[in-house]
């Protein structure tokens, strides 16, 4: 399995920190029938970044760009976790031992288990470390 099969295109959108901005982004995605698989909002003073894994990232990027949003792709990876105590620790330990720095992360747990989405400083070595440590990475084709 090639490593880049595990690299997932996350869509990131710059947003002012004020009422209605998330609704505007969500409406745009709805109009294009784009499904959001996971998302998070990071906030700073006065602005934020909306990050989402969607089923049609290129379509989302095009639509948001047309509406004047500042949108970009970011490479992230998704790791399956055991949905039980210690599940996160297992993955985090592997990354720590592999000297991989996590820039940010968010997670979801659903019917098929729990998933940790990560932006790391070095995607390739993160993938290697996780595979060596016995972790399971989700392929981007599962989402997109």
């Amino acid at each position: 399995m090639k490593k880049n099969a595990f690299v997932i295109k996350q869509i990131s959108v710059f947003s002012e920190n004020k009422p209605g901005r998330l609704a505007a982004i969500a409406k745009a995605l709805q109009e294009e029938k784009i499904n959001i698989l996971a998302f998070s909002i990071a906030e700073a003073d006065g602005f934020g970044v909306v990050r989402a894994l969607v089923d049609k990232p290129h379509k989302a990027h095009e639509k948001l760009g047309k509406l004047g949003f500042n949108a970009a792709f970011t490479d992230v990876i998704a790791v399956r976790m055991k949905d039980e105590p210690g599940g996160l620790h297992e993955i985090a330990r592997v990354l720590g031992e592999g000297k991989i720095n996590i820039e940010y992360a968010y997670a979801y747990s659903g019917k098929e288990g729990a998933v940790l989405i990560l932006r790391v400083d070095n995607v390739e070595s993160a993938i290697t470390a996780i595979q060596k440590g016995g972790g399971t990475l989700l392929e981007s084709s599962l989402f997109q």
């Binding site: 710059f14 970044v49 004047g68 500042n70 970009a72 932006r119």
Partner: protein, 434 residues
């Protein structure tokens, strides 16, 4: 390269030009002393008589005129022509109080047109050019001024006026516009709209010259416009009181030539009102040497600039005034420090991560003035990492602080969210209640 429109005047030896200016000044002052009750009174108040004007330097003995004189004498009490001698009115938007009415005799219109004909030729325009005039037509002087100036030099005028930007871009392509006259902010807006339409002004149009004015802009903005749109951008200067847009840069792009037979410019220290040497920034004071209907003598126009008295590389002997770097009355005082919005523009233009649009919001928090500058993050600079975005903000804050000597808060906003201006840009919102 074409020669000047009127080489006899434009390349007149400096000494001859000074003699001509003195004769015109003396004639004007004698006339006004006799026929302008307003200026007669003002000369009496300052104990000056036309006989006291014995050379060009004696202009310094003459009393000033102010914007408020025009307002106080609304609509036409300063005119020295009767209504039946007037062929046109223009009215300036009264952003501060009453509007200002300017009347024109036939000769006033002719001098205005000639001034622009010289300027447009000096930046390489002429027969064969298609000039899109995207300044407002009507009471505002920009549209009609450039219209007649461009017609005079044999260019083909496309009088689009302001607005309906998508149609303007279509016409620019269909009618092969080679030159445009508009505000720099409107041209930037056009560039953005064109890109949304899938049109590159650089690649898909024949536009090569921009005659840009009616609002202050910076050298950085010129570079950005030239690189982005693939044109040469020239500064044009004027206000309705002077007739309208009057003086334009030549191909050297080193300030606009003020035609000495039409106007005499002084640069004074704003505090002492003493003349400043060539190259030093100060308050610009203008005397119109031939203006008939609405005379202007030592008019405190309120713009800050510097003059370059050396003979231009283009061969024209008339002095050049550097681009306007601020307004005496636009100046903001933030915690006791003088701040010109143009300094902020100048600084932002040198930071590639932020866009060319900005807004300044001044407020008072407790006893302290608080200045917030909103800027748009450029698409190329957008990072998904909050720390990178915070870094951009810090960088802008740091640069502004260094230039302005006062701490500034910066807010990053979404691209396209700051107001675009089709006329004069209003970039300062002052919420202080003093």
């Amino acid at each position: 390269m074409m020669g000047p429109w009127d080489p006899r005047i434009e390349e007149m030896p400096r000494e001859d030009l000074k003699r001509l200016q003195y004769r015109l000044l003396k004639t004007r002052i004698s006339y006004l002393y006799s026929f302008s009750p307003f200026y007669h009174h003002r000369m009496e108040e300052t104990h000056v008589h036309p006989d006291d004007i014995k050379n060009l330097e004696d202009i310094r003995k003459l009393p000033f005129m102010y914007k408020r004189d025009l307002r106080d004498n609304y609509p036409d009490k300063l005119f020295v022509a009767t209504q039946d001698e007037l062929v046109r009115y223009h009215v300036s938007s009264g952003t501060t109080g009453k509007p200002t009415v300017v009347g024109y005799t036939e000769r006033d219109l002719e001098n205005w047109t000639i001034s622009l004909a010289r300027g447009l030729v000096s930046c390489g325009l002429g027969r064969g050019d298609v000039m899109q005039v995207s300044y407002g037509y009507g009471l505002f002087t920009g549209g009609l001024g450039l219209h007649y100036g461009a017609e005079r030099i044999g260019a083909t005028v496309l009088p689009t006026s302001v607005g309906n930007t998508e149609r303007q871009i279509e016409l620019m392509q269909d009618l092969k516009t080679t030159a445009i006259a508009c505000t720099p902010s409107y041209l930037l807006h056009m560039g953005e709209v064109a890109e949304k339409m899938g049109v590159s002004i650089k690649k898909d149009t024949l536009l090569r010259t921009g005659i840009l004015g009616a609002e202050p802009w910076s050298e950085q903005m010129r570079q950005r416009i030239q690189d982005w749109l693939g044109i040469r951008a020239y500064d044009i200067y004027g206000t309705s009181e002077l007739s309208g847009p009057m003086f334009c840069e030549c191909t050297e792009q080193k300030g606009f030539h003020v035609w000495g037979d039409l106007a005499y410019v002084e640069i004074l220290d704003p505090e002492t009102l003493e003349p400043l040497p060539s190259g030093e920034r100060g308050e610009m004071v203008i005397t119109m040497l031939q203006k008939e209907a609405l005379p202007l003598i030592r008019y405190r126009i309120g713009d800050i600039s510097a003059i370059d008295d050396s003979v231009c590389a283009c061969g024209r002997t008339h002095p050049r005034v550097q681009r306007i770097t601020g307004r005496v009355d636009d100046m903001l005082i933030i915690r006791g420090i003088n701040v010109f919005p143009s300094q902020i523009e100048y600084t932002l233009m040198s930071i590639p991560e932020v866009g060319q649009h900005f807004q300044i919001i001044v407020d008072r928090k407790g006893a302290l003035d608080d200045m917030l500058v909103q800027v748009e993050v450029n698409k190329d600079a957008f990072s998904d990492k909050i720390t990178d975005l915070m870094g951009i903000r810090k960088k802008v804050e740091h640069r502004l602080r260094n230039i302005l000597n006062v701490a500034v808060d910066v807010e990053l906003v979404e691209p396209g969210s700051l107001p675009r201006f089709e006329g004069k840009a209003k970039r300062v919102i002052d919420r202080r209640k003093i």
